[in-house]
């Protein structure tokens, strides 16, 4: 038995203390009380612990004399068959707070397995030698379980009639004080963007990926509003978390699984962009993505950057963008480019993924809309692709023909599909 040889407990085990199966009802039972403390010396047959089952209180005695090691403390809920303590030959190491240990979740433990799977060859089955005193906790009367209403007649009316909203019932508040639960996908995004979820989503119940995306969208929008001039990428990347938007009405209520939403449904996009008219939106889209996007591809070098800025790309100084590069086809406002960045021929920088209807709505390929940040001094080699959500750190290099799907740390060279780190530059002091 592995537990016997664990380095924390070198003392040989004289007897195990386990939860016996005594009722047909319970898979788990509660440790009502230990009658000895961790480390106490006990005699054989001494009463050790009371265990509460749905039927009765079982009392478990020591099979052998020795020193008690407590593994599950008072109040713990443990599965049938669980090892809750041992009687050792010598005093056990002090286990911090062993006797006041918080209840351990039974988890997925199978009650039967606990007994068969971990009972050592040397240990005698506790069940046969423990004396179980059946205290019949259910005995009714003055006992704890009794109902004893002061006026049986009044009580006989039952809980529904007795009170429209008397004891036992109260009217639903607007929003209960629920604690947060964050899905794994949402958590990944939160981690990626180093968001302070507890603050941002305070007052929310469930936080899904879509909630985080919306938060990021609103952050960009807010930022744009506040800083019409091209910001330094560092400002965005390191800006303090922005409070969730107060007006929930600006949030599309059906994204992404509820309707074609953000991409197909102009009306909901309009909401996203602050309730502007659909016409304006259509014009905006056409203008930014088709007209200006194409213009940028044919324009002389000198006007490429202003065109991209007009499209909404946030850009620092000394940037080079080749005319054949594509800087987002639909959401240029999600692209942030720092100072002295070079994006060479044939590159594609994307901030969204939108699969066909089937893949999207079946949940196989969810819609993605994540900002892309190219920090100062980056170099994107020819024919490379930068995918949504990627931040390319300061002075990093993406070699030709790479596809970047994860963040690139500063002063790093990446290569390949998917791009992997191949070189680390020394950081200047």
């Amino acid at each position: 038995m592995s537990t016997q040889t664990s380095s924390a407990d070198p003392a040989p085990t004289l007897a195990e203390i386990r939860v016996p199966r005594e009722t047909v009802n319970d898979d788990t039972v509660t440790i009502q009380d230990w009658h000895v403390s961790h480390g106490d010396q006990v005699k054989a047959r001494q009463l050790l612990v009371s265990i509460e089952t749905s039927k009765a209180v079982l009392e478990v005695e020591a099979d052998a004399g020795g020193f008690v090691q407590i593994l599950h403390g008072k109040g713990a809920e443990v599965p049938i068959g669980e090892l809750i303590g041992r009687v050792l030959a010598t005093a056990p190491a002090a286990v911090a707070g062993a006797s006041t240990e918080p209840p351990r979740s039974p988890g997925g433990t199978q009650p039967g397995n606990g007994v068969n799977g971990s009972r050592g060859a040397a240990s005698t089955p506790v069940r046969s030698s423990n004396r179980l005193r059946d205290r019949q906790q259910g005995t009714v009367g003055a006992g704890s379980g009794s109902v004893a209403p002061s006026d049986p007649r009044a009580d006989a009316r039952g809980s529904v009639e007795a009170s429209a909203d008397g004891p036992g019932t109260h009217v639903l508040p607007d929003r209960p004080a629920a604690s947060l639960a964050i899905s794994k996908k949402a958590q990944a995004l939160i981690d990626e963007h180093r968001l302070d979820a507890q603050t941002i989503f305070a007052g929310h119940g469930l936080v899904r990926e879509v909630d985080v995306i919306r938060h990021l969208e609103s952050r960009i929008a807010d930022h744009q509003r506040e800083h019409p001039a091209p910001p330094s990428p560092a400002t965005i990347a390191r800006s303090a978390p922005i409070e969730p938007r107060a007006a929930a009405s600006t949030v599309n209520s059906a994204y992404p699984t509820k309707s074609r939403g953000l991409f197909g449904d102009a009306a909901s996009s309009a909401k996203d962009r602050g309730n502007r008219s659909v016409l304006w939106l259509a014009w905006n889209y056409f203008w930014r993505n088709w007209l200006l996007g194409n213009l940028a591809r044919w324009a002389p070098r000198g006007v490429i950057l202003p065109i991209h800025r007009m499209r909404g790309v946030k850009m620092g100084r000394d940037v080079f963008i080749d005319p054949t590069a594509i800087i987002e086809t639909a959401f240029p406002e999600n692209i942030t480019i720092g100072n002295d960045v070079r994006i060479t021929a044939g590159c594609v920088i994307m901030s969204h993924i939108k699969a066909p209807h089937y893949l999207r709505e079946s949940g196989l390929v969810p819609v993605v809309l994540k900002p892309v940040i190219l920090e100062d001094h980056c170099f994107i080699g020819v024919n490379s692709v930068v995918m949504p959500g990627v931040t390319i750190g300061k002075a990093s290099v993406v070699t030709s023909g790479s596809v970047v799907v994860t963040n690139v740390p500063p002063y790093t060279m990446v290569q390949g599909n998917p791009a992997k780190v191949i070189k680390q530059f020394p950081k200047p002091a």
């Binding site: 009722t23 047909v24 009802n25 319970d26 898979d27 749905s54 039927k55 199978q110 039967g112 019949q136 259910g138 005995t139 009714v140 009367g141 006992g143 379980g145 009794s146 109902v147 004893a148 209403p149 049986p152 007649r153 009580d155 006989a156 039952g158 809980s159 529904v160 009639e161 909203d165 004891p167 036992g168 109260h170 009217v171 639903l172 209960p176 629920a178 604690s179 947060l180 639960a181 899905s183 996908k185 989503f201 007052g203 929310h204 119940g205 469930l206 936080v207 899904r208 879509v210 909630d211 929930a248 949030v251 209520s253 699984t257 309707s259 209807h357 089937y358 709505e361 079946s362 949940g363």
Partner: protein, 686 residues
């Protein structure tokens, strides 16, 4: 056809039939007997005239049985009669219009035309057309009389009529056993007319009739209708003795049905039946008083009464089938609210509810196998209760049919019986009482009676009890109008449910408990990110409502899940996994009432999600989940709903744990189906 049966009965009339003047000694009795004879003859005529719908079972030849019993009863006593009950009825209450009107199906009938010939009810008189099943009901009535008597309410006695063909029914012997063991004041009257429909007793009866009752320690009497004065005496002595001793009695009365079993279905040869015509007591009396003006006057008076009744019934309007309350499925406004209750083991909460019931309702009685302490029931739900209320918490023999029938009898007499059926699988043995008695009494007795019967039983597997102790067979018991089926889950307090049930009980109610739940905590605290709310109904639907940051009912819900009973635990686990791992938001509904079920409670959520997933531990074919999907399609089909079910695999439940896990719904199955319904949704053009 055994001609030898004639020898069963003494061929010679007792000299006492030739009393100097029976008419002056027993004027009331003879008038009742003659009334029964003439009413039934008129009924046969009405039948020939095409005025009756259905059939009539006449008791022509057997009139004196009913007469002999009813004259000894008072208004605390009850009678349970059978398919051949016109004579029993008229001797209990000589209301010719009530009976003829009923058989003609008119509103002036004693049950408004709903009951007909076999199902009549007035005051302490009841009849039902199920052979044998009425015996335990009568025993239950006797139990109620006894309990009332012991609390100073003045106990009556119960009577039940049993044909000799019905001697083949097991429920009868379960009832004899309990009646004797419990000292119930019940009289079993066995009308021994040698035939059951077309079948001669010689083909079906083994051994001796009275020895059967005597084997249970019940005193067995023997009379016949030919020597009717002696029958009257014997019956009075027998009933007096029941009142004196409080013990049951058995009274075999040899008699003969002169006419067909029903109508036109007599294939007994004429030469066999004829001798019985000649010695029939009413025929003998008619012959004897042929020229007596007193008899003539009586006949004329009865005939006039009958004709008046027929004319009145003919002119009366038809009744109706409305019941006074809203039908399942009718619009109900649901409001959601929080409820507070203690977190505790399911079995403790059930016990508390029962304890509360015994405490607050002096007419509440718990019966079942092994429910007395110190054992306290197979799952310990009644632990300790018999110590405090020994009169009202009682162990029974292994007789599920009889104990559910006793429940019905108690219920008819104003008690609140709570019958524990040890394992839900054994409900099959209660099916007759549930379906043919409990569910029908109120309607067929024209809303005059209530059957506040409660049956509690644990269903569900995951305990390794295998095929006959693990099933969830509630689907066989839902759907009977005027009944309700409740189920417990880990999200609503059984204590509150039982309190409200006891306070409101007015119909047969099956409460499905769950073996797993007994050892689990009933838990009022929702997991993070969810709110636990309840409908404002007496038996609420619990809802684990996702708290998304979108507002409005059901906003942001991907799947609406309904979990029935114990599987709510698995569904909840799945809901949490679906959120954590798949980023899906599910709205979980856990109704505590399976029947009637109204889809309206799900409607707002379904409108949002348009995906429905139902988790049910039993078999899926024609089940609660089929019903819910049917209702959803009828109400919301235009939304293009996608639906899936998670139910048991189609086989009996195996014993081994891994095999059982394959068969019964668990969180894994639920997650898989949820993803399936998500995928399907994408294919549907919205």
């Amino acid at each position: 056809m055994g001609h030898s049966v004639l020898s069963v009965f003494s061929p010679v009339n007792d000299p006492r039939t030739l009393l100097p003047d029976p008419l002056s000694n027993f004027p009331a009795e003879l008038k009742t007997a003659l009334t029964i004879r003439m009413v039934e003859q008129r009924l046969l005529k009405l039948f020939s005239e095409g005025k009756l719908f259905g059939t009539v079972h006449t008791c022509i030849g057997q009139e004196f049985v009913g007469v002999s019993v009813s004259r000894c009863l008072n208004d605390r006593d009850t009678i349970f009669s059978n398919h051949r009950g016109h004579g029993h009825f008229l001797s209990y209450r000589r209301d010719i219009l009530a009976l003829i009107g009923e058989i003609m199906g008119k509103s002036c009938g004693v049950c408004g035309g709903r009951g007909g010939s076999q199902h009549t009810q007035i005051d302490g008189f009841y009849s039902n057309g199920i052979q044998g099943g009425i015996a335990p009901v009568a025993a239950g009535q006797a139990f109620a009389h006894k309990l009332k008597g012991s609390t100073g309410g003045g106990g009556g006695i119960a009577v039940v009529y049993i044909g000799d063909g019905t001697l083949g029914q097991g429920a009868l012997y379960e009832s004899l056993n309990i009646a004797s063991k419990w000292d119930l004041p019940v009289l079993f009257v066995n009308e021994n007319n040698l035939f059951a429909q077309s079948t001669s007793q010689t083909q079906t009866l083994a051994g001796d009739i009275n020895a059967r009752a005597e084997a249970f320690g019940i005193k067995a009497w023997h009379s016949d209708t030919w020597d009717w004065p002696k029958l009257l005496d014997n019956m009075r002595a027998c009933i007096d003795e029941i009142r004196r001793t409080g013990r049951p009695a058995w009274h075999r009365v040899d008699t003969f049905r002169l006419m067909a079993h029903s109508k036109g279905d007599d294939n007994r040869p004429q030469e066999y039946v004829q001798p019985f015509f000649d010695r029939d007591p009413v025929n003998v009396l008619m012959k004897r008083y042929e020229a007596d003006p007193r008899w003539k006057a009586m006949e004329t008076e009865i005939a006039a009464e009958i004709e008046a009744a027929v004319a009145a019934a003919d002119a009366a309007p038809w009744g109706d089938v409305r019941m006074d309350e809203h039908k399942p499925g009718s619009a109900h406004e649901y409001h959601w609210q929080h409820r507070t209750f203690e977190k505790e083991k399911g079995v403790a909460a059930v016990r508390k509810g029962l304890e509360h019931g015994l405490e607050c309702h002096p007419n509440l009685v718990l019966i079942g196998e092994d429910i007395e302490s110190p054992y306290g029931g197979a799952f310990k739900a009644t632990m300790g209760l018999s110590t405090r209320w020994p009169e009202r918490v009682r162990n029974t023999p292994i007789s599920e049919h009889a104990i559910s029938g006793i429940g019905n009898g108690l219920a008819l007499c104003g008690m609140i019986p709570v019958v524990e059926i040890m394992f839900g699988d054994f409900m099959t043995l209660c099916a007759d009482q549930w379906i043919n008695h409990a569910a029908k009494f109120r309607f067929m007795f024209n809303d005059k009676v209530r059957v506040p019967l409660i049956i509690r039983t644990p269903m569900g597997g995951k305990r390794g009890y295998a095929a006959t102790h693990s099933q969830s067979i509630e689907k066989h018991f839902v759907g009977l109008p005027d009944t309700q089926v409740l189920c417990l889950n880990h999200r609503y307090s059984p204590t509150l449910l039982y309190k409200d049930l006891f306070a409101s009980i007015d119909r047969p109610t099956l409460v499905i408990e769950n073996k797993i739940l007994y050892g689990q905590n009933v838990n009022p605290d929702p997991p993070p990110g969810f709110d636990l709310i309840f409908t404002n109904e007496r038996f609420p639907t619990a809802r684990l409502k996702p708290d998304t940051n979108e507002h409005g009912a059901g906003a942001g819900t991907d799947i609406t899940i309904v979990a029935l009973g114990g599987v709510a635990v698995d569904a909840e686990e799945a809901v949490i996994r679906l959120f954590n791992d798949e980023d899906l938001v599910c709205d979980l509904f856990m109704p505590t009432r399976l029947y009637p079920f109204d889809i309206g409670v799900l409607e707002p959520s379904l409108r949002q999600s348009r995906r429905l997933l139902i988790v049910e531990e039993g078999q899926g074919f024609v089940s609660m989940s089929s019903e819910i999907i049917a209702q959803a399609c009828e109400r919301l089909g235009h939304l293009g709903l996608s639906a899936r079910r998670v139910t048991a695999t189609p086989n009996p439940i195996p014993a081994a744990r891994p095999l059982e896990q394959l068969c019964l719904p668990g969180a894994n199955h639920i997650v898989t189906k949820a993803l399936e319904v998500m995928r399907e949704h994408a294919n549907v053009q919205r």
